[in-house]
């Protein structure tokens, strides 16, 4: 290996291994300054490699130019826009034909949370149920950030979005204070499809992400592999672009986001301890979209964090302890 | 053109019988078109299907409103359905029934009747009241429009296999053998 990063720093291990591998996106993509999605997709495709067909439904991924514009492409592997609604189905067709022809091709989807949890959920669920052989990655920036930061079903309770705004209220009800429902837990739904592999990940924990990518690529050769990556959005969540990793890290340290993986044979396993989390306010105060929260709303969110943590822990215990 | 209307109940196989009869007619080098009526054909509900036979290609793909022949595979159906609607004068009725001709109430349009105690025979052959193939035998015996041989060949090419095929062959033969044919003389000529 020609790479000379310090081997005693564990973060350098990834660089030493894959630093020479080609970044399979164009050098210039139109992601926002400090875009976590751009970071994620560049690492992911580098790891998955060129024997890949990439599907990116409408959202930030193609929005920053990965499928290109008027004759130019942003990707060095075959790439296409599915519809927002049919990513898993269309990619399944591609993969099946290569399998029929006896060619080993990785079918990779990088989809937003809106296109996966809302309008694209039917095709996602159908493909998972059929065990279509693909790696389906969801970039969860908790809303429709590409089209102007509208709410999705993955938007968390209390968050400001352009369709769950903060307002003075009207005669019919309370003042509007952000989203009034909790987020849909898409990765847990995928666990209930008994996918070959399900994992949650964060770009703040790159070694964990890379390890999970390896397992997901392997699982995608025999079944449906699903990786759900929490992806802070500097523009939509309202924090300075340089704070991206810090926000991602705080999400995990407070248990707002938990990192785990699941296979049908091994069950669910945390890849990072969820004991002794920081208070959720450490996460909430890091960004503008939660600035308006009342003490009651913060209490609700903290309660949900604890509830979610216990809920997933029970999955984990049933798999290993029980 | 010879037009037949099948009457039965959902689950009794009258649509299947119509198809087998059409196949038998094709076996004999004739042209045949069969069309089921369309509704929610749930088990037990009255159903109809239509069959046209001809020496020449058949172009009409429509229902049949004035049949030459009625095949009623269910003995109780006449209580709820006017199976005789539109029957051509001098037309033929093939009826599954244990009753003698004298006990049947028939309109003036009926000119020929084939009667078969199909339920009794079916219970002996299948241990269930499946009368459709039986009534095809009755049809062949009563009308001569199709031969028993052609029906047998059509049955062989159908989806029936092994024991089911043997049972249906028996049913077909007994339907043919145990049908009584009656010509009804009308006092007033048409």
């Amino acid at each position: 290996c020609s790479k000379g990063a310090l081997t005693y720093v564990t973060t350098a291990n990834i660089y030493n291994e894959v630093g020479d591998w080609e970044d399979l996106f164009a050098p210039g993509l139109a992601g926002c300054q400090g875009c976590n999605t751009e970071l994620l997709m560049r690492h992911t495709l580098r790891r998955v490699g060129p024997d890949t067909v990439l599907a990116t439904p409408p959202g930030c991924v193609p929005g920053m130019g990965s499928v290109g514009f008027n004759g130019t492409t942003g990707t060095k592997v075959p790439v296409f826009h599915p519809l927002l609604t049919n990513t898993a189905a269309m990619l399944a067709g591609v993969k099946r034909q290569f399998k029929r022809m006896g060619r080993d091709v990785t079918a990779l989807a990088i989809a937003g949370d809106g296109g996966a949890s809302d309008v694209g959920f039917q095709s996602l669920s159908g493909a998972a149920e059929r065990g279509e052989q693909m790696l389906f990655m969801v970039v969860d920036n908790e809303g429709y950030m590409n089209t102007g930061m509208q709410r999705s079903s993955c938007t968390p309770y209390g968050a400001w979005t352009s369709t769950t705004p903060i307002g003075a209220g009207c005669s019919a009800g309370q003042p509007a204070q952000g989203k009034t429902q909790d987020a849909k837990n898409l990765p847990l739904l995928m666990v209930n499809h008994r996918c070959a592999y399900v994992a949650t990940a964060s770009t703040a924990y790159m070694e964990d992400l890379y390890a999970k990518l390896d397992r997901a690529i392997e699982a995608s050769k025999t079944g449906f592999a699903y990786v759900h990556v929490y992806s802070p959005c500097t523009t939509g969540w309202r924090f300075p672009s340089d704070q991206n990793m810090e926000v991602a890290r705080k999400a995990v340290e407070t248990n707002f986001v938990m990192l785990w993986e699941f296979t049908p044979s091994e069950g669910l396993r945390f890849s990072r301890s969820v004991d002794d989390p920081l208070p959720v306010t450490d996460y909430l105060k890091a960004m503008g979209r939660f600035r308006h929260l009342s003490p009651e709303q913060i209490e609700h969110i903290q309660g949900k964090v604890v509830e979610n943590s216990k809920f997933i822990q029970r999955f984990s215990e049933q798999a290993h302890g029980g | 053109m010879y037009e037949v209307r099948f009457h039965g109940r959902g689950g009794q196989g009258s649509v299947l019988a119509s198809g087998i009869l059409a196949a038998a007619l094709v076996e004999e080098g004739k042209y045949a078109v069969s069309i089921p009526s369309f509704g929610f054909e749930r088990r037990g509900a009255p159903v109809v299907s239509f069959l046209r036979a001809s020496e020449r290609p058949i172009r009409q793909l429509t229902n049949i409103y004035n049949p030459d022949c009625l095949i009623c595979v269910d003995p109780t159906l006449t209580r709820s359905v006017d199976i005789f609607a539109g029957l051509k004068p001098g037309g033929t009725l093939i009826q599954a029934t244990h009753k003698p001709l004298a006990e049947l109430v028939l309109p003036d349009t009926v000119g020929r009747v084939g009667l078969c105690d199909a339920v009794k025979i079916a219970l002996e052959v299948f241990r269930r009241p499946i009368t459709n193939t039986l009534m095809l035998g009755a049809f062949a015996k009563t009308t001569g429009v199709v031969s028993l041989d052609a029906l047998k060949r059509a049955l062989e090419h159908s989806d029936f296999r092994d024991a089911g095929l043997a049972q249906n062959m028996t049913a077909l033969e007994r339907g043919y053998a145990e049908t009584t044919v009656h010509q009804i003389e009308r006092r007033v000529a048409a």
């Binding site: 790479k3 000379g4 990063a5 310090l6 720093v9 973060t11 350098a12 990834i14 660089y15 030493n16 894959v18 630093g19 020479d20 591998w21 080609e22 970044d23 399979l24 164009a26 050098p27 210039g28 993509l29 139109a30 992601g31 300054q33 400090g34 875009c35 976590n36 751009e38 970071l39 560049r42 580098r46 790891r47 998955v48 490699g49 060129p50 024997d51 130019g65 499928v67 290109g68 514009f69 008027n70 004759g71 130019t72 492409t73 942003g74 060095k76 592997v77 990785t106 770009t203 790159m206 690529i217 500097t234 300075p240 672009s241 340089d242 704070q243 991206n244 990793m245 810090e246 | -």
Partner: protein, 99 residues
């Protein structure tokens, strides 16, 4: 995956495929976002220990390795500042482009 380099992009002309059937793109985007920057990262070469954290977290992957330090390709660096914030050695400073 054994292969880590891209295959050459498809060439419509060479393959004699009309360019008006299915919409396709076969040229890599020439866009370079370096001119988006209002701030640029500057590396203190003495402090840099080549831990690769900046490379790990750079969204545009514009970090380049030099003999004794890591530096940035300013054609694509958008100036987000993540590298400066994340550098464990505090070896990267963001300075205004106007200066």
């Amino acid at each position: 995956m054994s292969r880590h380099q891209s295959y050459p992009l498809f060439n419509l002309e060479q393959a004699n495929v009309p360019d008006d059937l299915c919409p396709v793109a076969t040229d890599i985007s020439p866009m370079l976002p370096g001119d988006w920057r209002s701030q640029r990262p500057v590396v203190d070469r003495d402090k840099c220990v080549k831990c690769a954290v900046c490379w790990l977290y750079c969204p545009v992957q514009c970090v380049e390795e030099h003999a004794a330090w890591f530096d940035f390709n300013l054609n694509t660096c958008k100036g987000c500042g993540i590298c400066a914030t994340e550098c464990p050695q505090r070896a990267i400073t963001m300075i205004g482009e106007a200066q």
